[in-house]
Amino acid sequence: MHQSILVFRNYLYLKWALLVVAVAIGLYVLHDPAYGVANGGTWLGYGLGTIGALLIVWLMWFGIRKRRYGAASLSVEDWLSAHVYLGLALIFVATLHTGFQFGWNVHTLAYALMIFVIGSGVFGLVAYLRVPDLMTRNRGGATLDQILQDIAELDAQCRDMAMSLGDKINQIVLHAAEDTVIGGSFRQQLSGRDADCPTIAANRQLQDLAASASTAQSENLRGLIALMARKEELVRRARRDVRYKALLDVWLYIHVPISFALLAALATHIVAVFFYW
């Protein structure tokens, strides 16, 4: 996934979206609500509301469509490009549908959820445009699995090198090998950091020990420190990789569930409006 989603088919779906927005704004400006207040209850309000509701259902259909491979005439790229642009156009359609009337009610709840969904979608779009490049550069041609294998190899080397060194050093090295974790909780994956990382701590502790050790000892320590520094670099790289992947995924944890919340709120909104017509 890269820039081509935006320029797809020479901005075909951007043009469609702009047309929708232009028509909506044009009608809104020309529209002269008979009773002086623009809202969802005028003919234009009903019209924009209907278009908005259909757009929401169609946009959500993308979640089903993208799982059906090679089924229809339009490619998934077509769908995604249209999904992005028409999703953004929905902001205009829905906002004009409200007539800028907002309140603490289920109607504005639906609107707020929609904005939330679109906002998360924009986050996802930006992530998909920027992160893969960063990810490739960060990995340096390796996969995350290969990085983890490199780390494991360094752990073994560190242990071997520490074998003849003091118990404390051994404990440090063993702790760094056995308790270093890549990723973890949502927050750890997203931040790409671990405040209590045993590897980073080990590196610092070993350097402190080297400073106060005798010449003969520090000779051995320096080799260990070099290995540990290399390991720390790989650990950081692995965490960055996990972070990038999390950035590519995390918005969907909002985008998808809130979409369904929006669908429920939308249905409620429509029922409520006509229940108390």
Binding site: N105, E178, F260, A267
Partner: protein, 590 residues
């Protein structure tokens, strides 16, 4: 001591490989240190971890400082051991076995818990995928959706069903359907804002007009929807058939609940003849750009009470016959006018008294405004006696009674002579015959009365202010006062608030009273005077004024909207509804 140390290694194909080593040493030291007798190459083992001593009593194992050993699974600092005991040192099991002949001690050393695969351990520990955190998009989707449906859809519907009867606001603390409220109720209706079902009587049915009529019972139409001449006109049918809701939308907060746009009125009034072919209305769509000159309702015949709308553009026809004579200019003279206490200067407010609202004025009344100067005295000898105003017959009777009483009390002599020269006129006959009458009190009184109450008196006394009719049938004495028909409102179809204009403009800006010599003048300003300050609804440089600034939609005198007229429609054969004469055919006084 002589020792045999056997290193055991489990083979992957099964079986155990044994690698015995014989050695001689003071003690058996276990550790990672290269000088240890039993070298245990594992980071979980200390450099110097434990030591076995051979003492006269037998073998004795001892943990080094800070190290931890287990004997038969029990953590101990030191203990005597014998064949069969298992010493746990880190991941190693050291088993004491029977020493062969010539040896002091024999042990088997086996790494029972080797370090796992670093990569597999690291991969197992690390969670590198958000999906592996156990957060399910599907579960959250269902959760959110169901929560919203339960809270905002099911709960309000249940509440509605349970509260079908409207309840007083005080009994409803919290409404579960409050989340459906699309906007604030207008101020006028806020008192029922907690009782949704006062208006929303049935689910999925638009608010019915009957709900409005339950309070607004007497609201009237804009025109008579049953008038035959309107039955064919689609616009009227639409307007007559439309529900209250088509014009009045609630839940828009303090924004007007009524239509204010000129365009709504202009739909018909921009080309009113197309909408109502027989109308006497003129086109109007914008106060400055398209609005006819004012056409006041002018009284043409006060006796027949006949009035007509005449445009201010036709000054020659603008003659109001109110039955009064009144020169505004004389009363408003700059140097004043003679009053009961000398000269006084009159201003508009001297006679035109504002109503409390300030919108208009109390009607001018003889007693309140005129009588102070214009007293109806008829007998110079008794200036305290005045005639009752507004009662010609009664006044004539009063004069007779006065002189009869006057004569009876000896007033005849007071009158200064026993003989009077009487001018007498028989009904319907001229000339006047003069005769000398003997001064008899009854006769004298009669003469005096006739003299005072005659036509000339009427002309000079009443006629100062009133038109006086003479001739056959005009009262018992062949003369009477034309009833005053002062127009209370020349433009009854328009609303005008004098008070809001007082502070900005003087009376004479609009009403040229100081130059008016005749009561027949219609002292109204032309529309261009208004247009100096007021323009159409979109004006930027003047006061924006739309149709409803001055005109109402629901007109007095038109049929009630309830019952809904469209339902009662029976076509062009229906007789025309009675109209208020003042409004013509629903004319709005433009």
């Amino acid at each position: 001591m002589e020792a045999v140390v056997t290193y055991l290694t489990r083979l992957s194909r099964g079986g155990v490989s044994r690698k015995p080593e014989e050695l001689e040493a003071e003690t058996l030291r276990f550790g990672r240190a290269t000088n240890a007798e039993v070298y245990l190459a594992d980071p979980r083992v200390r450099l110097e971890h434990a030591v076995i001593h051979h003492r006269p009593g037998g073998l004795f194992v001892e943990a080094e400082e800070d190290a931890d050993i287990r004997v038969n699974g029990i953590s101990v600092p030191a203990r005597a051991v014998d064949a069969g005991d298992v010493i746990g040192i880190g991941p190693y099991d050291v088993t004491v076995v029977e020493a062969p002949e010539g040896k002091d001690v024999a042990i088997d050393v086996e790494l029972v818990r080797p370090l796992g695969d670093d990569y597999e351990a690291l991969a197992a520990r690390s969670v590198t995928n958000l999906a592996d955190r156990g957060v399910s998009k599907r579960a959250w989707s269902w959760g959110w959706a169901l929560a919203i449906i339960a809270l905002f859809l099911v709960a309000p519907i249940v509440f509605f069903i349970q509260h079908e009867e409207p309840k007083p606001r005080s009994e409803i603390a919290f409404r579960l359907d409050q989340s459906w409220d699309s906007g604030t109720i207008s101020t006028a209706h806020r008192f029922i804002s907690m009782q949704c079902n006062v208006c929303h009587e049935e689910a999925f049915v638009q608010v019915k007009d009957e709900a409005c009529f339950s309070c607004h019972e007497k609201i009237t139409h804009h025109f008579d929807p049953q008038a035959p001449e309107l039955a064919e006109v689609g616009l009227y049918q639409d307007a007559a058939a439309s529900a209250c809701q088509s014009c009045h939308k609630e839940h828009n907060g303090d924004a007007a609940i009524s239509i204010m746009q000129d365009s709504f009125c202009a739909d018909c009034h921009a080309d009113i003849e197309a909408a109502a072919p027989d109308t006497n209305l003129l086109n109007a769509s914008n106060f400055e750009e398209e609005h006819p000159e004012f056409r006041p309702v002018v009284m043409l015949d006060p006796l027949a009470q006949q009035s007509k709308r005449i445009s201010l553009n036709e000054p020659e026809k603008l003659v109001e016959r109110s039955g009064l004579r009144f020169p505004h200019d004389v009363h408003l003279k700059k140097d004043g006018i003679r009053g009961p206490k000398g000269r006084e200067e009159l201003v508009c407010e001297s006679c035109h008294v504002s109503e409390p609202s300030g919108a208009s004025f109390f009607p001018i009344e003889m007693e309140a405004q005129c009588e102070r100067c214009h007293q109806l005295k008829f007998e110079p000898r008794r200036p305290d006696r005045v005639l009752p105003h507004g009662q010609v017959d009664n006044a004539q009777l009063l004069i007779r009674e006065f002189y009869s009483d006057f004569a009876l009390r000896g007033g005849v002599s007071d009158a200064g002579g026993r003989e009077e020269l009487i001018s007498r006129r028989r009904p319907g006959s001229e000339p006047v015959r003069q005769e000398v009458v003997k001064a008899n009190p009854k006769e004298w009184a009669e003469q005096q009365a006739r003299k005072v109450a005659d036509q000339a008196f009427g002309r000079t006394m009443c006629g100062t202010c009133h038109e006086v009719m003479t001739g056959e049938g005009a009262g018992p004495l062949n003369w009477s006062v034309v009833p005053a028909s002062v127009s209370n409102r020349w433009l009854p179809g328009g609303r005008y608030d004098h008070k809001s204009h007082f502070e900005i403009v003087a009376c004479e800006n609009c009403h040229a009273a100081d130059k008016s010599h005749l009561a027949t003048d219609v002292l109204l300003p032309k529309i261009e005077i208004c247009q100096d300050c007021h323009s159409g609804e979109n004006a930027a440089d003047k006061v924006p004024s739309n149709c409803v600034t001055c005109h109402d939609y629901h007109l007095d005198g038109e049929p009630m909207m309830k019952p809904v007229a469209a339902a009662a429609w029976t076509g062009p054969d229906m007789p025309a509804g009675q109209r208020d004469a003042e409004y013509g055919t629903g004319d709005n006084g433009s």
